[in-house]
């Protein structure tokens, strides 16, 4: 008798709990949950515009690493709807771990060119960034450079870069392997290492500073860093010391990587998530990305910021992103092999 009493008590409590959960999930259905590899200050302007327009609340967890692990462990009860990433490798990692579902939207298909999204919609590119070369204005470095030139003896002791293991450099090296093979890339990487002015360190901004201070003449850097530095009063003088060069214009083109988005496999709010993805690929959000972060919009016809446009059009390496990403692990091994960062 006592036992059944306890049991009934437990049951009614659980029912209550269940109703509570159901009610709360109903009330909160106008929201979308985001796990983001991209920093809050970069995506906030876009997200707040989205909320203004649609009334859908956005909830964000930003983490620099480990989102894949978190999704894996949370499994089918994960609250996340979409994941924002800084580059293609992270998107493909989600796909490989079977953590995503196709984004099926005619709007997204029209917004994003086919080479910047997965055919099955499992990832969608949002913005593009070029791996450019910064060249000293003062030392009058010629502007028709190829990545290959960084290994040329004429730049002996004149090259700066962030560590080879950084995803942006790994991406570049992987694209090199894709086009020239591993042996050739190894030789090139050794050549670049021999040309280094100092041990690889800092991020892309730091290299621009080093050029201004005369430590080196050329460095690798993502295109948007220069935009960010030019618009930051305390960093403007550094940025003005360099020209931005888009390498390999007479051959395969400049290496380009994409930031992107994927929808999680068990997304509890697939409808609002889809709305957000559609918004992110549409003109308004693309413009904010272009203006605030100096990235290249993925949607054709959306203009870059005035500053970025002033750098001119350039030819992109049309190697497909997943094809490039295949060689990332090989690229990382090459970096170890020549002890690039040591």
């Amino acid at each position: 008798m006592i036992c059944t009493g306890v049991n009934m008590h437990l049951k009614s409590m659980l029912t209550l709990l269940a109703t509570g959960l159901l009610v709360s999930s109903n009330v909160l259905s106008q929201e979308v949950n985001i796990y983001s590899y991209r920093q809050p200050h970069l995506i906030e302007p876009v997200l707040s515009r989205f909320t203004e327009q649609t009334g859908i609340k956005t909830n964000v967890v930003y983490a620099k690493e480990g989102i894949t692990e978190r999704l894996k462990r949370e499994g089918r009860n994960s609250p996340a709807d979409i994941v924002l990433t800084t580059e293609i490798g992270l998107l493909l990692e989600l796909v490989e771990n079977d953590l995503v579902q196709p984004i099926q939207s005619p709007l997204v298909t029209t917004h994003v060119p086919a080479n910047y999204r997965a055919e099955d919609g499992k990832w969608v590119g949002l913005t593009l960034r070029a791996r450019s070369i910064y060249a000293s204005k003062e030392r009058q470095v010629a502007k028709d450079l190829n990545y290959e030139d960084l290994a040329d003896p004429r730049f002996k002791g004149k090259v700066c870069t962030r560590p080879g293991k950084h995803p942006y450099n790994i991406g570049l090296i992987a694209s090199m392997i894709a086009s020239k093979g591993e042996a050739e890339t190894l030789k090139w990487l050794q050549g670049v290492k021999d040309n280094l002015a100092r041990k690889p360190q800092g991020n892309d901004r730091e290299q621009v500073k080093a050029i201004k201070e005369g430590l080196c003449d050329v460095s690798l850097g993502n295109s948007y860093y220069l935009g960010a530095m030019l618009s930051e009063p305390s960093e403007r003088a550094w940025a003005e010391a360099v020209n931005i060069v888009f390498p390999n214009q007479s051959n395969r083109g400049t290496h380009v990587n994409a930031s992107g988005v994927a929808m999680t496999r068990y997304a509890p709010h697939p409808d609002t998530a889809l709305k957000l993805v559609e918004f992110l690929t549409d003109t308004e959000a693309q413009k904010i990305y272009a203006e605030v972060n100096f990235e290249y919009p993925v949607k054709p016809g959306v203009p870059s910021s005035a500053l970025v446009s002033s750098w001119g059009e350039f030819k992109r390496d049309n190697l497909s992103l997943p094809e490039m990403a295949k060689y990332r692990a090989a690229a990382a091994r090459l970096v170890d092999k020549v002890d690039f960062d040591g």
Partner: protein, 528 residues
Amino acid sequence: MLLLCLPVAAILWLAANPEENPWPHLLETVLPNYLYNTFALLIGVGACSVGLGFSLAWLFRFYDFPLKRFFSWALLLPFAMPAYIMAYVYTDFLSYTGPLQAMLRKGMGWTGASEYTFPEIRSLGGAIAMFSLVLYPYVFLTARASLQNVSDHLIQAARSLGASPLSTLLRVVFPSVRPALAIGLALVSMETLNDYGTVSYFAIPTLTFGLYDAWLTMGNVGGAAQIALVLISVTLVLVLVEWLSRNRGMRQASGTRPGRQLPQALTGWRSGLVLTYLTSLLLIAFAVPFCILLYYAVSLFEQNWTPRFTQYAINSMSLAASTVILLSLLSLMIAYVQRIKAQDRHLLTRIAMLGYAMPGAVLAIGVLVPLGGFDNWLSDRLTEYWGISSGLLFSGTVFALLYAYSCRFFTVSFGSVESGLMQITPAMDQVAQTLGCKSPEILRRIHLPLLRPALLSSAIIIFVDVIKELPATLLLRPFNFETLATYVYQYASDEMIHHSALAALLIVAIGIVPAILLNRFSETQKNP
């Protein structure tokens, strides 16, 4: 106790199922380099921190000099400064492109790097300096708390029996504070081992760097977990060596009230020397980086102040306070049971102590595995019986954060409570028992008052550590949940240290409060 071991167990489990074996490639290429850097860093940081920390504790215990009270809390401040912030600030200031060298070049008319030599801050030596400057307070704190319990009479007895100051130090003082020093040193080593932010910024490839590389660049979680296990075994060896040597040594009896003859007043050049030492340490370890941050913060105040800082600060502080309370109770309980049963550390206790040696992000993954597993299991059972789902009960909540912090900082709290209890001779318990005291009363009236310095010092370390903690917080936190550390990081990670200076200063400011409080307590204890 078992709960605290789960994350370590989870990493073991991951390590048993690697995506690919990382070792052949590492052995063939960069492993020797990783090992060299790791051990050089460990030895360098260990030696410098103990040197700084113990010398300070020694000075404060046995000598009087001007401004002693001020220095006694001011010299604790550096550890409110996260190591990576210190590294960013100093690099910004001292590197080739920084203002100091640019000014030198201008002033001296140098045109390039080849014309002069300036120590490279982004080097092994630079990293050792950065770590030692933020970590020496661990040794200082633990050594100071423990030195307070060393009786003056004992020292005077040694001296009157003809022992020189040096041999008194080595043969009387040192054995008695060794457990505390060992704890401090273990903390320092583990902090050094588990750091990723600073070594990657300085481009010093250590084992931890290799771990992240295996995980993030090669996508090999299991391989990364294996490297984590190597890191843990390094710590294990350190702790074991200390523990073995301690067993052979004596248990130091003390507890007599310190006599009045010590500390001894320093005058003349001696006091000048001590003051110069303390002042320059304070300048380098705190004042200079603090002022640089302050300068950034003030010049960009308009742009960066947001009222949300209050919320971030509250989040940071309530997490820190909850962890402190949780861990103090827990370790007191465990250490006490251990004492009453007169047994050695339980195996589980020892495993739980390893949480601190793991890089934060690895521990976070270790936490995700059991929490996610439990949540999904519970939800499945509920769906099975009642057709409803509980969703994720713990994952992605503040609970997950507290759990991770508890696993991570258990060592700090348990270590100092245990070493504190060890300094209290069992004879005292026996006397109390003879006088009719029951165990709870012994704890309340004898042990707790004597443990107060140890408990307080671990409390302040944990409080500040939680406020600084970054990788686990980043990964495990709930939606829209920001702490001061995570806020600082979003800019600092992009080398926009200027924009995070304001929040970084808040972290330091919050760290100052417990430092002062701690000092108050230990002052009142000295002069009741």
